[in-house]
């Protein structure tokens, strides 16, 4: 599994960092997504998908 994020779409809602803070953080400057782990291990696959689904701006893609 590979996670991609698009900072230009991100609206800083924080849903990803709330859902899995091991995978996602937010920039202190403008709150946009910071990807901590591009390739999540099996234990984080479900939360990665959940974060992509919850993202209000569609800024997270899972492939």
């Amino acid at each position: 599994m590979k996670i991609s994020v698009d900072q230009t779409k991100c609206c800083g809602s924080g849903m990803c960092a709330l859902t899995d803070p091991d995978l996602f953080d937010q920039s202190d400057e403008d709150g946009t997504v910071v990807l901590l782990e591009e390739h999540p291990d099996a234990a984080h696959e479900a939360t990665a998908k959940e974060a992509a689904n919850l993202c209000p701006a569609g800024a997270i893609t899972i492939s």
Binding site: G12, G14, L18, P21, G31
Partner: protein, 407 residues
């Protein structure tokens, strides 16, 4: 596709009375059961749309083909909007909730860094102290009190005032006017006069913060040099209003709900770790905006087989969408603090999703947890049918919540 048109329902007669105080109006639930997207007559004669299905609401709120600019919307309610000349419906600088990209993006970005999950988590201890102090105040009142006046409203007000750098002792300068602004019974003149006074207060605040900056969000925002004074003033106004009305109503109505669902309250007491999910479920279950948000299509869009034409205004109905059995299977009309409630649209969806949601979550988690820990025998002091409901306000909740406990 043959479109369903609600014959009885016109946009200025949308119900705000909930037959059961916690459920969406039955008339709108009945519409969702027949058609998740239906035609709705707007007050100015426009034939627009009413959206009650969860994924349809998400799709529209997430789409760039709809504008949030109120000047583009057909009129929901002539009582307020019919008297407004078109040029006055122009969005004021800084009101990012009513703006589309790129203006919205530029303004929201100036604030996003202040409301991150990490930053809000760092406030937990401080918010805990505010809640503790307010609960001590509540206890000092003896054995009974109005929970809204003494707890649900003060907690978020104290928090947002401190974060923004607004003197809490000046709250009389905006709280009464906020009530007038949000009252569905206010005339247009009354609402505009109230808005004018709040704006004047904010403009004064910006002048003061520029002369004497503090350790607060408004001073930080001004220090960036990015917003104009007028933008900063309106941005601060949005944060101030959104920061206390919404969370206060969730705390008040949420407490009423839990007291009326003792089995669920027991779960919250016995399993404190449930609180994070409990907050999501209460948000879903109660959905405190009566109706909305509103969008207008900027080009033709097909949504689930319905052709929404450019210029059509669409009214989302969040309370019914959050009870959609397609998204929340089982019994969505039951309060279940253990239900996976994630993905509700109570904070909205799309780029306008609530900026302060991570703050609201923490206030509610700490607020509900500590309230029921400290007051294990908290109970209603009136019959449930006597609790005054905010059917007359833009945001639902309880006007007051008389409670009692063993002193």
């Amino acid at each position: 596709m043959t479109e369903m048109i609600s014959e009885e329902l016109i946009s200025d007669q949308l119900p705000t009375t909930r037959q059961n105080p916690f459920d969406p109006p039955a008339e709108v639930t009945a519409i969702r059961e027949q058609a998740r997207i239906s035609r709705l007559k707007f007050a100015d004669g426009h034939l627009g749309w009413l959206v009650t299905g969860h994924h349809e609401v998400r799709e529209i709120l997430g789409s760039p083909k709809f504008t949030t600019n109120p000047a583009k919307h057909h009129l929901l309610d002539l009582r307020f909007q019919g008297e407004v000349p078109e040029e006055r419906r122009k969005v004021e600088p800084g009101m990012f909730l009513s703006q589309d990209p790129p203006d919205h993006t530029r303004l929201r970005k100036m604030l996003q860094g202040q409301f991150t999950v990490r930053r809000m988590n760092q406030l937990s201890e401080w918010i805990g102290t505010i809640v503790d102090d307010q609960l001590a105040h509540l206890r000092s009142l003896g054995g009974k009190a109005d929970l809204v006046k003494e707890f649900a409203l003060p907690v978020p007000s104290l928090v947002i005032c401190a974060l923004l750098g607004v003197d809490y002792d000046e709250r009389h300068r905006f709280q009464d006017d906020t009530t007038k602004l949000l009252s569905l019974d206010s005339t247009f003149e009354e609402a505009m006069a109230a808005m004018g006074r709040i704006q004047e207060f904010m403009r004064e605040l910006i002048v003061r913060k520029k002369a004497d900056p503090g350790d607060d969000m408004i001073s930080d925002l001004l220090a960036t040099g990015e917003p104009t004074d007028e933008e900063a003033s309106n941005m601060a106004l949005l944060l101030l209003l959104a920061g206390h009305e919404t969370t206060a109503n969730m705390l008040g109505l949420g407490t009423f709900t839990l007291l009326q669902h003792p089995d669920q309250l027991k779960i919250l007491r016995d399993e404190p770790e449930v609180v994070d999910n409990a907050v999501e479920e209460l948000m879903r279950y109660l959905s405190i905006i009566h109706f909305g948000p509103v969008r207008t299509a900027t080009e033709d869009v097909e949504v689930e087989g319905h052709l929404i034409k450019a210029g059509d205004t669409v009214l989302m109905h969040v309370p019914t969408a959050n009870r959609d059995p397609e998204k929340f299977p089982g019994n969505p009309d039951e309060l279940d603090l253990r239900r996976p409630a994630g993905g509700h649209v109570a904070f909205g969806h799309g780029i306008h999703q609530c900026l302060g949601q991570q703050l609201a979550r923490i206030e509610m988690r700490i607020g509900f947890s500590k309230l029921f820990q400290e007051f294990p025998d908290l109970r209603l002091d009136v019959g449930p049918e006597e609790v005054p409901l905010r059917t007359d306000m833009g945001i639902y909740g309880v006007h007051s919540l008389p409670v009692a406990w063993s002193a």
